[in-house]
Structures are given as C-alpha cells and as structure tokens.
C-alpha cells in the first residue's frame, strides 16, 4: 500500500485558546502545588501549627469561600448567557462576578490582613504566618488578575460584540476563574481549619 496523507489527529478540534489556557493552568497548578506541599511538610515538622493558627479569622475565611464559590457560579451563568447570545444577562453576570471578586479582596485586605498586622501578626511572625501571608497573597494576586480579565470582558459587552469571540473568551476567563476558586478550596481548610 502506497503511504498516503492521513487524517491528522483530533487535537485539531480543540480551539487554540482553550489549549493554551489548559497548559497555563497546568503550570499554575505546579506553582501552588509546590507552595502547598511545602506548607504541608512544614506543618508536620512543626506539630500542625496548632498554636499559631488559632488567630486566623475562620469565619471571614468561610464567608470568602462562599463569595468565591458564588462568583464561580455567576461566571458559569455568564458563559451560558453568552452562548444564548443574551447580552444583558452576560453583562450582568460578568459584573456580579467582578463585584464578588472585589468583595473577596476587600474582606481579605481590610478585614483580615490589616487587622492581623495590627494585632502583631506579620509574615515574619513565624512559619505559619509566613505561609499564610505568602499563599493567600499569591492567591490574592491571581484573584486580582482574574478581576481585571473579567472586567475587560464586562467593558467589551457595553458595545456590539462578536459573539464567537465573546463566548470563547468568557469560557477561557471562566476556566482561569474556576482554577483560582479551586486553589482557594485547598487553601481554606489548610490555613483556616487546622
């Protein structure tokens, strides 16, 4: 049989942007994975951080968990609306997601970090606090990045949109936003419920 051109693989069917986001998230998982693994190992070496961890504001942490989970839901609803080409709803859900993200950061910064520093707990206050500020800080930077991305999409919906473009970008931003949410789901019990 003379060899002929064969059909190329099905990976052709995944849109470029989606593939890129997944690879990006894979590397991000390794970053947070590295931090979380280091934290867990340190935790075992330091007797569970029980003493130092007592002072985290777990109720606010739980509230923030709720905030982020809700924002993931509104992000999904934004995508669903974009798929139905409902501009009003898409804009609304994107806006709520942005607001919820900002709520998360406000609670974190103004009701946790600043009071904690006031109470004398800084990153230099011991291994637990180093990890607490380091991990939630890095997470917060990622939340901020997501807020910016979602806000840009929100602005885009103020005018006429190219639906296929909007749909794709809401999906990609959504993937990133869900990832940020999942990282928090790991951080919350590790830091707040020890």
């Amino acid at each position: 049989m003379a060899p002929e051109a064969v059909e190329t693989d099905s990976l052709h069917q995944i849109p470029l942007g989606k593939a890129a986001i997944w690879w990006f998230l894979a590397s991000e998982i390794m970053v947070f994975g590295g931090l979380i693994t280091s934290y867990v190992l340190m935790m075992f070496a330091h007797g569970g951080f029980a003493e130092q961890a007592v002072h985290v504001k777990w109720k606010l942490g739980a509230l923030n968990t709720l905030v982020l989970l809700t924002s993931s839901m509104t992000m999904i609803l934004a995508l669903a609306s974009a798929r139905k080409k409902d501009l009003e709803k898409t804009r609304m859900f994107l806006g709520i997601t942005v607001l919820l993200g900002l709520t998360f950061l406000v609670i974190k910064i103004f009701f946790e970090y600043i009071p904690e520093i006031g109470e004398g707990f800084t990153p230099a206050s011991g291994m637990f606090w180093s990890f607490y500020f380091g991990m939630t800080g890095l997470h917060g930077v990622h939340v901020f990045g997501g807020i910016v991305a979602n806000f840009c999409l929100f602005i885009y919906t103020m005018r006429k949109v190219d639906w296929s473009l909007l749909e794709r970008r809401v999906e990609y931003a959504g993937l990133y936003w869900h990832f940020v949410d999942v990282v928090w789901i790991f951080l919350f019990p590790l830091l707040y419920l020890t």
Binding site: P3, E4, A20, S27, S38, A124
Partner: protein, 573 residues
Amino acid sequence: MSTAVAAGAHAHEHHELGFIRRYIFSTDHKVIAKQYMTASALMAILGGLAAYLIRWQLAWPETDVPGWGPFGPENYNAYITMHGTIMIFFVAMPFLLGAFGNFLIPLMVGADDMAFPRLNALSFWTLTVASTILIISMLLPEGPAAAGWTGYAPLSANPLYTGVHWGQNLWILAIAAEFGSFLMGGINFLVTTLNMRAPGMSLMRMPLVVWTEVTASVLFLLSVGPLIAGAIMLFLDRTMGTGFFLPDKGGDPLLWEHLFWFFGHPEVYVVALPGFGIMLEILSVFSRKPIFGYKMIVYSTITTGILSFVVWAHHMFVSGIDPRLATPFSITTILISVPFAILVFCMTATLYGASIRFTAAMLFALGGLITFILGGVTGIFLGSASSDIYMHGTYFVVSHFHYVLFPTVFFGGFGGLYFWYPKMFGRMMNETLGKIHFWGTFIFFNCTFIPLFFAGLGGTPRRLYEFSNYEMLAHLQPLQVMATWSLIGLLIVQFPFLFNFLYSMFRGKVAEKNPWHANSLEWTLDSPPPHPNFPTPPRVYHDPYEYSVPGMSEDWLPQDQPMPVGAATAAGE
C-alpha cells in the same frame, strides 16, 4: 516575499510595516527566532568572559587577569554564579528553544506562524527585561548574586551571609522573568505543534527535533512551578523577614534544595533534548539515511521526560536527606540512563551503511554525539550513591555536566546554525572556516575538561577561589593550568565562527531552496521563507527521513511529495 498578488490593500499594508514593526516588535516567528539568537549570543559573550576570568584565577592565582585587572575572592563567587546562571538560563534556553524552536516548529509542521504570534513577541521582550535585570545586578557596587547558580539557602536567604543585598534580589527577579518568558514560549510551542499541523502531518511524521522541542517545553512547563514557589519564598525571606529557609526562624534549608532540584533535574533535559533533536536531523541528512528507530527515539524522549521528575535527589545524596532515600533515587537515576542509551545507539546505528558527507554541520553533530557520551558515562559515577560520596562537590561533577551540556548546547547548536543558516539568511556559510571552528572547538573543549576530571578524582573541590590552602592539591595544579590554556584556545577559535557568521550574511554564496537535499518542509520554501510561510498550504505524505529509498533515482524525498509507486513497493512500506 509576500505574494503581492493578494488583495491589494492587504498587501499594501504589509509593505507599509515600518522598520520597528518588522524587525523590533515583529510577531513573525522567524524574526523572533533571530532575536533570541542575538540575545543568546550577547549573553554567551558575558558567560564566556566569566569563564575566562574564573579559569585565569584558578591557573594563576592572585595575578591580574589580562584585559581585566585584579580578580579577588569577592568577585570569584559572583562570577561563578553569573557563569552558571547566564549559560543555562540566558544562553542555552534562548538558543536551543527560543531560536531553533521558534524558527523550526511552524515551518516543520506546515504552519504559517506560531499559534499566538503576539504572545511570542512578548516572550522575547520578557527575556530582554530579564537579561537587563541580570546585567544591572552585575553593575551594582556590592556585586551580583554570589551564592552559586543553585542559590542554596541560607547563604542565599540572608543577605548578611554574602554581603550581597540587591544583587541577589535582582537575580531572583531576573530568573523569575526568564521563567515567565519560557512559560509563554512553551505554551506557544505546544499549542502550535498539537493543533496547527498541516494535513497529513501526523505526530509520527514530525521531524524529531519538533518532538524534542515539544517534550522540553512540557518538561519546563510542569517542573518550573515548585521553583517559582521557592523563588517567591526566597524573596520573602530576603525582604519580608520570613524564614522559610532559615533555621533560626523554624525554616529548613533542605526545602530549598528539594524545590530547586525538582525543577533542576528536568531542566537539564529541557536543555539537552532539543540539542539532540538538532543532531538527529543533521545526522540523517548527511548520512543520506533514515534515522534508525524513529519510534524508539520518540518513546525514549517521552520516557526520559517522565523519569526526569523522579530522579532529583541524586543531587542531594550527601545533603542530609534520610540516607534510605538514596536507594530509590539511585534506581530511578540508573533507569533514566536507559532511554539515553537507546538514543545514542540509534544515532550510532544511523551511521551504519551510510554515505556520510562531512560538512561542518555534520562534524558538529558527530562531534556532539562523541563528546556527549563521555558526559553520559561519567554520570554513572554520580548516580550511584556510594561513589557519589567521593565525587560530589568536586571537579568531577563540573566536568561531567560540562560534558553533557556543552555538546548538546554548543555542538548541537553550532551544527544547527551551519545547517539552517542557508534557510535563515539565504546565504551559505564558508565550509572551510566551519571545519576550522569545529576542530578547534572539539580539541580545545576536550583539553579543557578532561584534565578537570582528574582534578576531581584527586579531590579538588569545586567553587574554590584558589587551592593554595590544600597541600594535597598542589600536584594537581598543572591540570588547572592546562585547562585554562585550552579554554583560552576554545574562546579564540570562536572568532573565525563569528566572522564567518557575520560575513556570510552579506557576502556568502546565495543559497538555493534546498542546498542539502533535505526532506522536511522548511526546505520546500525560499531561503529565507516568505511571510506567511506557505503560499500554498502543504500536504504531507510520509515522515521526513525517506533517504536512499530503494528504487528511486534521487536519494531524497520531500515530505510533501508522495512516495513513487515503484519505490514504495521496493521499500516494503
């Protein structure tokens, strides 16, 4: 040249692209590749200068270095750090991945450009920012980072231990930026290769250099995360009073070592694999033979990648880890030599029954294979925990890793340059100068590092400013002198190459499309290829290694031409 026949306005726009858009902020992968090449060349000069200073000091301690001046212990630690950091992060990766990966991947898979051309440009400019930060750190009065390219804590975590404050901080930032640059580049390579191949270009029909570039990208993508985490922690230790790696604050220096080497080991394959890929391409073309064992090589490449994640503690046998861990890591380390053995044997088998043309490119590919093997076998001494007790931290290690890195990066890289120069620049390089460059590099490289194996066996520790404190090392000094003379020769013999490279760009013989009669898709295009790459989209019929197919009058068959019926039957396909 872009087909001006296209829609008038569009073509007009292309011609309007000013110098800045075409050459400085270009999104064309071929231009970006050349930008990476230029960047790596400039940084290689810095890295080579560092090597010269270090080696002069080691051969003739306490003398002024010609062309530089006094070189004291306060500079030495900084320069060994800069040499390692620059060579790995700012020369090897930009050269093998940034330059060759960018240039070759779209052309070889039949795509018009990378999946994300603007991201590609951003990745290059991020690297430029990273390099600038590193260079600034070298100009600070206190000097740049001085804790080794491995940056072990607590030496690197508390400025008091080295006396270097912002030099070390900027080092962390420069490397972090470099990581960002290659993460962006890696995503581009992966998505382009997996999603933008031309019709008929199945994964098992891709040139092997694409396989190696892609595997390297995946390795980097998945291994760098923990070190980014570590770098953040190190930066916090240095600036915010945390103590992740400082025992006084409850931290653990070994945590840094684990995070570093979890990345560090896959990283050496990130550098080595593309170099091998380049050598494989050259070997096939100038042997006029298919690569022996294409599938074996693909599976070996992937296996090497996977195994590279579970060997890291062989850098840490005597570091204070639980000694029981030495056994599993010795086993995984021994296992990883298997895919590399397959690779080397397949390359050797490719030469069997060949019809070899000794062009400069082929000399470098062969020379690279020959020198790499010494690096590979000396690794066995280090991968076995008991013998590593003696060898660790000595010049034996230094020679080993130069013998695995230099052949892949420089022999592979130079080979690639001589091979693809016609395609990149539309001209031929001078073959005679190329041969002089090869023999000089080959001889001087070996004469530099073979003495250092013996220095290590004799008990010479690495990273020492000088050896006069150790009586037991006095008789080994001639080895250090020999190594330095050879290094100077090695540096000097690069000048004919530089001259050849630059001169040929303007005065070299104009190159045809396919001066080497090679099969992969880039050779079907003009030299240099137009923008966009493929005026007509290619269709691929077979792998790129159909050389000397029985029954054919020509000894080569481009990928975009189907196998002639008679030849196909004769080959038994």
